[in-house]
Amino acid sequence: MSPAVAAYWYVLLKGAAITLWISWLALILGGLVGLVVGLLRIAPWAAVRWLAIAYIEVFRSVPPLVLFFGCFYGLSYALQLDLSPFTAATVALTATASALMAEVVRAGIESVTRGQWEAALSQGMHYHQVFRYVVWPQAIRVMLPPSVGVYISTLKDSSLASIIGYVELTKSGLLVRETTGISFEVLLIIAVMYFIINYSISLVGAALERRFGYVH
């Protein structure tokens, strides 16, 4: 690392911390919204199911970058709100993450076989008891490993927040690049930092998969 770039190490570290924080926030919010949408996706009413499918398909097919613009400029103008880059980025990331999490939730619940529902119901359990004590404890194990994948995906998407001026890792890198005039080295450092963060998270995911994943 050249000394000109090394002088800004704390800017890059702070950027990395902000990237971790906003993607974690979006994962939690996306998980909550995704849980609701995922449950609606397998609801017994066709109209509700179709609404959930539409939500998932739309937020999975509209590029996150387009969502960032839609939230930052579109919502700001349409609702006459002065949304900060942080709010806009959180909303956009949550929208994408929730669509991914909805599918994770659906797959988790559907992994518990029908027979278990029937067996538990025939034991005199209530629907909510079956869900709480029989289905959920098994579903959450199936949901954990792919949730780590959603976190990594959200973390990578959070780099797009730099476009609307939110100073996370990518934007910090671009600022250091402008200040020092050194492109390749700074961008390479940013890439390496993303790699270290995401690779560490994926190792956690692999450990979870070994611990909780299905034994084929």
Binding site: P63, L65, Y77, S159, A191, F195
Partner: protein, 225 residues
């Protein structure tokens, strides 16, 4: 109160078809190139040579863990400083292909390792040529495993192509930014472009289901779903 006015975008409708074509062109090129990269990568990852296996694994891990945006910047701005000038379209294409190629590698590898070794040996012992082995035994089964994730990845590539707008490629997202900036009709241009991307993704989805049914219905009886 905000007056929603889609008609405000009418003066900008002319360049939209061209922008859609550019998005499709960039995505299609990237899909084709990343299939080639993915096939080579999968062969490396399943090779008997340790060096090839490690190279393949390193490629996949590195590209899957770095945001596409950073890869685009590295190629467009980073390489320029080292003296290698790549046009903005080519930078986006290379970055998108490198990124998608890593996912392609994993999809093809997943398909290849799912076929038991015994099938290769059984087919060869029946006197099949290598071509016949892959054409009639391996590929029909691999296709059944990979065609769903392949469709999802193609949608992912179209979505990823939106990032080409940050280095000025005149595709759909750039159209949205320009139309929004010049009319302040940000919400309208966002919704219009949202419709375009959802339509593209659904077209790929339908195409995947149709080709899937067509190819699977031609598979031997035992392998039909």
């Amino acid at each position: 109160m905000y007056a929603f006015n889609l008609a405000g975008l009418l003066p900008y409708i002319d360049p939209l078809p061209h922008a859609i074509v550019l998005t499709l062109w960039l995505s299609t090129l990237s899909i084709l190139l990343s299939i080639a990269v993915g096939l080579a990568g999968a062969l490396c990852r399943t090779s008997t040579s340790l060096i090839l296996r490690l190279t393949g694994a390193a490629y996949v891990e590195v590209l899957r863990n770095i945001p596409l945006l950073v890869v685009i910047y590295l190629i467009y701005f980073g390489l320029a400083q080292v003296g290698i000038r790549v046009t903005n379209f080519n930078s986006a294409l290379i970055a998108l292909t490198l990124n998608a190629g890593a996912y392609m590698t994993e999809i093809f590898r997943g398909g290849l390792v799912a076929i038991p070794r015994g099938q290769y040996e059984a087919a060869r012992s029946q006197g099949m040529t290598a071509w016949q082995l892959y054409r009639y035994v391996i590929f029909p089964q691999v296709f059944r495993i990979i065609y769903a994730p392949l469709g999802n990845l193609m949608i992912g590539i179209v979505i990823g192509s939106s990032l080409a707008s940050v280095i000025g490629v005149e595709e759909v997202t750039t159209w949205m930014r320009r139309a929004g900036d010049e009319t302040f009709r940000y919400m309208e241009s966002f919704l219009a472009v949202g419709v375009v991307y959802v339509a593209l993704a659904q077209a790929i989805n339908i195409g995947r289901i149709v080709t899937g049914r067509w190819l699977l219905s031609r598979a031997p009886v035992g392998m039909r779903r």
